[in-house]
């Protein structure tokens, strides 16, 4: 448990958890055909929380996080995101999606659009922001992820780490209140992992509500305020990072941690 994600001092002053509820999941179940992927999930996330979701492969982490912006449909239970209940009403779904940013393992940038166009597409078409303003916002966030000079290039011309940072900037351009990350660094080389994690840490420092599926335990330790461990479609354990790593309660968690941390 030595490798820390970043050597710089993390500013925790703004990482405040408020009382306001950002996401509320109660009694949620999901099946793929007859396969019960998510079982009785109950989870409340407050505004400003940084949650890391860990668990073995196939435990349903991606599925859970994708349910939160309706990329997957849940069959039972209730999900309320930012005060809006997720139903099959398309208007609600589009509204939630525009409030919740998401970053994928494989970035999913649009290869036919330049970096700048990638970032302005949704603000212009979904938020109806004037082009000029959208471009200014996009440049602001590209500067934040430290690649403003790539604005006119195409995704295919960037490194993986740069692409993932563009993907983060693209989501931020919609000014989301919640960010979801699904293994944002697992397709990247070690150096690139660091650039992306640094960007995510900065986001956390600004008080963004984040749900992050990741195997970067260093990140979990330094940034998260809560770690959730999932196995076989259920939440097995959740705790503050210190407790979670130093004093896991469940046998499964212990096994998982011993495997992933290699002790």
């Amino acid at each position: 448990m030595s490798e820390l994600t970043t050597d710089r001092e993390i500013d925790r002053s703004k990482m405040q958890v408020s009382d306001e509820v950002a996401i509320e999941i109660s009694g949620m179940n999901k099946w793929y055909g007859s396969f019960h992927v998510l079982r009785d999930i109950n989870l409340t996330v407050n505004q400003g929380e940084r949650i890391v979701i860990a668990g073995p492969s196939g435990s349903g982490k991606s599925t859970l996080i994708r349910c939160l912006n309706a990329l997957e449909e849940h069959q039972q239970g209730k999900i309320v995101v930012d005060g809006i209940e997720l139903t099959s009403d398309l208007k609600n779904i589009d509204k939630i999606r525009s409030e919740v940013g998401m970053c994928f393992q494989h970035f999913n940038l649009f290869p036919h659009l330049s970096i700048l166009e990638n970032c302005t597409l949704a603000p212009i078409w979904v938020r109806k922001t004037p082009r000029k303003e959208a471009e200014e916002t996009a440049m602001h966030f590209l500067e934040k992820v430290k690649i403003p000079e790539q604005a006119d290039k195409y995704p295919g011309q960037l490194s993986g780490g740069q692409q993932q940072r563009v993907a983060i900037a693209r989501s931020l351009c919609m000014r989301p209140r919640i960010m979801l990350f699904d293994e944002p660094t697992s397709a990247l080389d070690p150096e690139m992992i660091k650039e992306v994690l640094d960007t995510m840490i900065e986001l956390a420092e600004e008080g963004m509500t984040m749900l992050c599926v990741t195997h970067e335990m260093g990140f979990a330790r330094q940034v998260a305020n809560r770690v959730i461990f999932m196995d076989a479609g259920q939440i097995v354990e959740q705790n503050e990072p210190e407790e979670f790593f130093n004093n896991p309660k469940s046998e499964r968690t212990k096994l998982f941690l011993s495997q992933i941390l290699g002790h």
Binding site: R97, H112, Y154, P155
Partner: protein
């Protein structure tokens, strides 16, 4: 063991490559004679090319341009001492009949109309096909074409159009000279008013096109455009008051009712108030390349959007929509085009109420377009299938709705992947237009029969078919080159 160590003392200067690697000799050696097998192939191929050309060129270059009949050709060749079946080409037939091969039996005093139509078509497709040409340039071209067209007819309208288009062309030419692209961009950045988008003309062209070719009252195309306007307003009014779905149903319905039952009356009434008509030309006078291009262009332009809709329908979650699209595509693809054309030419009349006059070319246009659309749908579906699901998820996660995601993210990529297939389909459709000769339309191939039935030209084969083949080749080859240009232009990022 000490002689393994090595340290270079002085660096080697760069040297020119040996002569065998560069220049013509190097290239020839590398590409044509790089081994015994390769050398033999090169020599055999050169020999084959040589014999083909030696046989073909004397036949092509035969001084028979002015001959008035096949017999005259033979005499000219005989005088040169050339005899036999392949003594030389008889080009007189092309000189005498090329106009007919172009226009069929279109009235000769109205040839300007198809010419202007295709000139305007050129202007209309430029902003769609190429984005490097400026708005000013595009409007300038349009003004020039209209100006030229006004010399084909007389009357007060010609004069009004002539003065307007001349003034417009002069003004645009002046601004084109006075400010170059960079200056103009500067002006626009500082808030100078831009010219209207030339795509406006491209959108109007489909209405101008049939009117110029078939003639009749200008109120008919105006009425057709009004149909869209009416449909839109009905949709907008209902979408606001009753709901989106009601608007989506009632809007198109209103437009269709207008087109089917009311346009005629509207055009008739308006025509009696303000007469605006040009001489009508019947469909059976259409022919030659004019007909091929008309059918080809309509089928090409119509089949792409229809094909996209069918491909999307085929992927739809709505079961009935999906079944209809699959059924349509599989049925059309399972039937030869010629069958559909026979249906268009004969059977369709059986189902029509007696007395309806459903134009034969219109029927053919519909059939060929539907046929092309089915193939297009499959090509587009291939492009859609090649896109990773991540693209859909990326678009969804940003909050784009279905149509926005399709239009902005999915289709641009799917169509780009499908360009080679799409253009192949276009080329196929364009060549398939020759099949209409079988149902009696006088496309270039249909006309060859008429020409060869003429006693003067009885026996001419190669010259006619060769001429037609060359023209088709020019069109198809241009399309093929254009698709390569487009692929290169849309290439983003390295492989």
């Amino acid at each position: 063991m000490s002689d393994i160590g090595f340290v270079r003392k002085d660096m080697l200067p760069e040297q020119a490559p040996p002569a065998s690697e560069v220049g013509i000799i190097g290239w020839v050696r590398e590409n044509l004679f790089s081994g015994i097998g390769n050398s033999v192939m090169t020599i055999l191929s050169l020999a084959a090319i040589f014999y083909t050309l030696a046989a073909l060129l004397p036949w092509v270059f035969s001084p028979t341009w002015n001959a008035g009949s096949l017999n005259e050709c033979r005499e000219i060749l005989h005088a040169q001492g050339k005899e036999g079946h392949f003594a030389g080409a008889c080009w007189g037939v092309i000189r005498e009949r090329w106009i007919q091969l172009m226009f069929g039996f279109y009235p000769s005093d109205l040839y300007w109309r198809p010419i202007v139509t295709f000139g305007l078509m050129f202007v209309a497709v430029i902003p769609i096909l190429f984005n490097m040409i400026s708005r000013r340039m595009n409007w300038f071209l349009l003004a020039v074409v209209i100006l030229l067209a006004t010399f084909a007819f007389g009357g007060i309208i010609a004069w009004v159009l002539r003065i307007l288009s001349a003034a417009g062309a002069a003004y645009l030419a002046y601004t084109l000279f006075a400010t170059d692209k960079a200056d103009r961009a500067e002006q626009i950045a500082q808030g100078a008013k831009r010219l209207p988008n030339p795509l406006i003309f491209s959108a109007l062209f489909p209405f101008i096109f049939p009117w110029l070719l078939w003639g009749g009252s200008l109120w008919v195309p105006i009425g057709a455009i009004l149909g869209f306007v009416i449909g839109y307003y009905v949709y907008a009014a209902l979408a606001k008051t009753v709901g989106g779905l009601a608007g989506l149903i009632a809007g198109p319905l209103a437009a269709i009712i207008w087109w089917l039952f009311l346009v005629g009356t509207f055009a008739g009434v308006m025509e009696s108030i303000i007469p605006l008509s040009i001489e009508a030309v019947e469909s059976r006078k259409f022919g030659g390349f004019m007909l091929s291009i008309t059918i080809g262009v309509v089928a090409i332009v119509g089949s792409l959007p229809l094909g996209i809709v069918l491909a999307l329908g085929r992927q739809s979650d709505l079961l009935i929509v999906k079944a209809l699209c699959v059924g349509f595509i599989e049925f059309i693809r399972g039937v030869p085009l010629i069958t559909l054309l026979f249906v268009a030419s004969t059977l369709l009349n059986v189902f029509m109420p007696p007395g309806t006059n459903f134009d034969i070319i219109l029927r053919v246009l519909i059939m060929v377009t539907l046929f092309a659309a089915a193939y297009m749908a499959e090509v587009v579906r291939g492009g859609l299938a090649a896109l990773p699901t991540g693209q859909y998820e990326g678009a969804d996660s940003l909050g784009l709705n279905y149509w926005q995601a399709q239009r902005l993210v999915i289709m641009p990529q799917a169509l780009k992947i499908s360009i080679p297939g799409i253009v192949s389909t276009f080329i196929g459709v364009f060549k398939d237009t020759t099949l209409v000769s079988i149902i009696g339309l006088l496309d270039p191939l249909g006309l060859t029969n008429a020409i060869r039935a003429d006693a003067n030209w009885n026996g001419v084969v190669w010259e006619l078919y060769g001429f037609i083949a060359v023209l088709f080749f020019v069109f198809c080859f241009s399309m093929s080159r254009y698709s390569m240009y487009l692929e290169r232009k849309l290439q983003t990022g390295h492989k």
